[in-house]
């Protein structure tokens, strides 16, 4: 595996409420010999909310983030599904609408930047699977996850809308995604089948509609539990933080104890690669994960 190198757009969550996502991502990349150049200039992607207030501003800010990946001459990887969606959406609009691109570039020129469209944008999950390869990952496994039943939770914004993501996510079927399942199996864990693996956790309405959010998360957590999962794993820190931190509220809403640890994807990979638990930041979880 020679010299994989990407520009990492961390998003905000990895630098704030889920520091474990940052440390586990960097640790996994290091262990696999993947070089990640941090885009410290990047701003928030707007998290699918800024566009509700000011759509043009949201596109400009996402274009600016991509500019920094382009400056390094690298493809961008994201570690949050919502960052992925927002960045990819902005990119699609810019690459298909010359008039919009010109308007955005006029603004960017004021700060000495230009959006060219030369960097691809992918979630790290798919860069790992597509570029590094499942077989190569499997070869690096030091502590197989054979003791674990793992429930994959894909997160909406990596798989829908599929026409936007198809080049970035290897054409994943949004109604029957399999890449995470295959990754879990490559780590020698057992991937659990349950109905809500491609459902929504409700994160985006957590403040204004907690009932909606809790019912959605609850359905997923209970579905995974009933299918005998020991833990859930997700590539999205928003899904993770919702379902890790809010389990007391979720349990109350659905009338059943949901207790289930929820890991970030790089944490799960890190466990299998034999990376020290401290680097994986497992102590940051509210719903504790205990290694078997």
């Amino acid at each position: 595996m020679s010299n994989l190198k990407y520009a990492l757009f961390t998003g905000c969550t990895a630098r704030e409420s889920t520091p474990e996502l940052m440390s586990s991502t960097l640790a996994v990349a290091k262990k696999l010999g993947i070089e990640l150049v941090l885009l410290d200039e990047a701003t928030c992607c707007g998290a699918s909310h800024l566009q509700d207030f000011d759509e043009f501003l949201s596109i400009v800010m996402n274009a600016r983030n991509i500019c920094y990946a382009e400056k390094h001459g690298l493809d961008m990887v994201t570690i949050c599904n919502t960052c992925q969606l927002n960045t990819a959406e902005a990119k699609e609009k810019l690459d298909n609408d010359p008039e919009l691109k010109a308007r955005v570039n006029e603004k960017l020129a004021e700060v000495g930047l230009e959006y060219k469209g030369t960097s691809a944008v992918r979630h790290f999950q798919y860069a790992l699977i597509e570029d590094y390869g499942l077989d190569a990952i499997a070869k690096k496994v030091e502590t197989p996850l054979s003791n674990y039943n793992v429930a994959p939770f894909y997160g909406c914004h990596n798989i829908r809308p599929s026409h936007l993501h198809k080049d970035a996510n290897m054409g994943e079927n949004p109604y029957n995604p399999t890449s995470l399942d295959r990754l879990i199996e490559a780590l020698e864990g057992k991937s659990i089948q349950y109905e809500d693996k491609n459902s929504c956790c409700g994160f985006h309405v957590e403040l204004q509609a907690p009932k909606t959010a809790n019912r959605l998360s609850g359905s997923a957590l209970l579905g995974a539990k009933d299918a005998d999962a020991d833990m859930m794993v997700t590539p999205c820190p928003l899904c993770q933080i919702r379902m890790d931190v809010q389990q007391h509220n979720i349990s109350k809403e659905v009338g059943r104890e949901t207790h289930l640890p929820v890991l970030h994807l790089p944490q799960l990979i890190g466990l299998a690669l034999g990376i020290d638990q401290k680097q994986l930041g497992l102590k940051h979880h509210v719903t504790e994960f205990k290694a078997k």
Partner: protein
């Protein structure tokens, strides 16, 4: 002609006689041109005359034949069976759009769909002169502002795939919002504000969309309802209809944070959205998160590099005025 043997697990239920629904298996030879509707027809014509489903136009235009195959919303008359086999394998599960609303097999009670649809006044509202002396012409550019929202065939695929609606029956849902946008974007219409007030309601309106994109994925006509939901949000701010509440402040709060830090100040976003009083209910979580090292204290708040550039860019690229709130 080459055919393939496919197993169809078909949802069967008669609300008048059955206590519970059940699945019945049909093994059929499927050819490369067979559509889902052909399969439904063959089950009815060759196996069980009582099997019920809706269809009318067979041309993807009446919207009556929408069902789900392996949970994927499909217009039966438009979707090729072997394409589904490619996506899901040789066992296909055929369900009505919403099992809990089944009347007979694939036929569901779509009353909730129409009620939600009606709630947004899905028609042109304008004082029309009875005897106009000239035509009321809509230009090409003006028509394009509808963003093809008028392509909707009311099939309900989006509504019965909607995550928010699945757990919140008050939510008006993607088809109604796409329609509200369709008339709000129509230059002849005069009821924009009225409709915006309807979609601004917390609990039923656009703020309750969880942004799952199921509707965009489901729509056979590429209406892209969530795009229209975003446009309605934009109209709510542009027309100053958005009530000042936790949801609208949450959207605006992102801009405030980015102006200050580039990155999002997660804690401040919650405080700003909820207000100083409302934020109290989050204190138990905040304490837990703090203990787990999940809260960054204000003096450690990370900032984007080149913050001056970010500030300058936000200032020059903003297209919406600072939000004061209508109520």
């Amino acid at each position: 002609m080459k055919t393939q043997t496919i197993t169809f697990n078909v949802f069967r239920f008669n609300a008048e006689t059955d206590y519970l629904p059940y699945y019945k298996n049909y093994e059929l030879e499927v050819g490369q041109d067979d559509l889902v509707l052909d399969i439904l027809n063959r089950i009815k014509w060759e196996q069980d005359g009582t099997f019920s489903y809706r269809r009318s136009c067979r041309h993807g235009i009446c919207g009556s034949c929408a069902i789900k195959v392996n949970d994927k919303p499909v217009l039966s008359c438009k979707v090729n069976v072997l394409e589904l086999v490619e996506q899901f394998g040789t066992e296909l599960t055929i369900d009505p759009q919403d099992k809990s609303r089944a009347i007979k097999d694939m036929v569901i009670d779509k009353k909730n769909f129409w009620e939600k649809y009606d709630a947004v006044k899905p028609y042109l509202i304008a004082d029309v002169e009875e005897h106009p002396d000239k035509e009321n012409i809509v230009s090409k550019d003006e028509a394009e502002q509808l963003l093809e929202a008028d392509y909707c065939i009311q099939c309900g695929s989006c509504v019965y795939a909607c995550s928010a609606l699945g757990v919140n029956e008050d939510y008006l849902g993607p088809a109604a919002f796409a329609k509200a946008y369709r008339f709000n974007a129509d230059v002849r219409d005069e009821a924009k504000i009225e409709r915006l007030e309807i979609v601004d309601e917390l609990g039923s309106g656009v703020w309750d969309c969880v942004k799952c994109n199921e509707c965009a994925e489901a729509c056979p006509k590429e209406v892209n309802p969530i795009e229209k939901i975003t446009k309605l949000h934009n109209q709510l701010f542009a027309e100053n209809v958005a009530a000042k509440n936790v949801a609208s402040k949450h959207a605006v709060g992102f801009k405030h944070s980015m102006e200050k830090h580039g990155l999002l100040d997660e804690g401040e976003l919650v405080r700003y959205s909820e207000g100083n009083l409302g934020v109290m209910k989050h204190i138990p979580e905040a304490i837990t998160m703090f203990r787990k090292g999940k809260i960054v204290l204000p003096w450690n708040m990370p900032k984007s590099k080149n913050l001056d550039e970010v500030k300058k860019l936000i200032k020059s690229s903003s297209t919406v005025e600072e939000y004061k709130g209508s109520k």
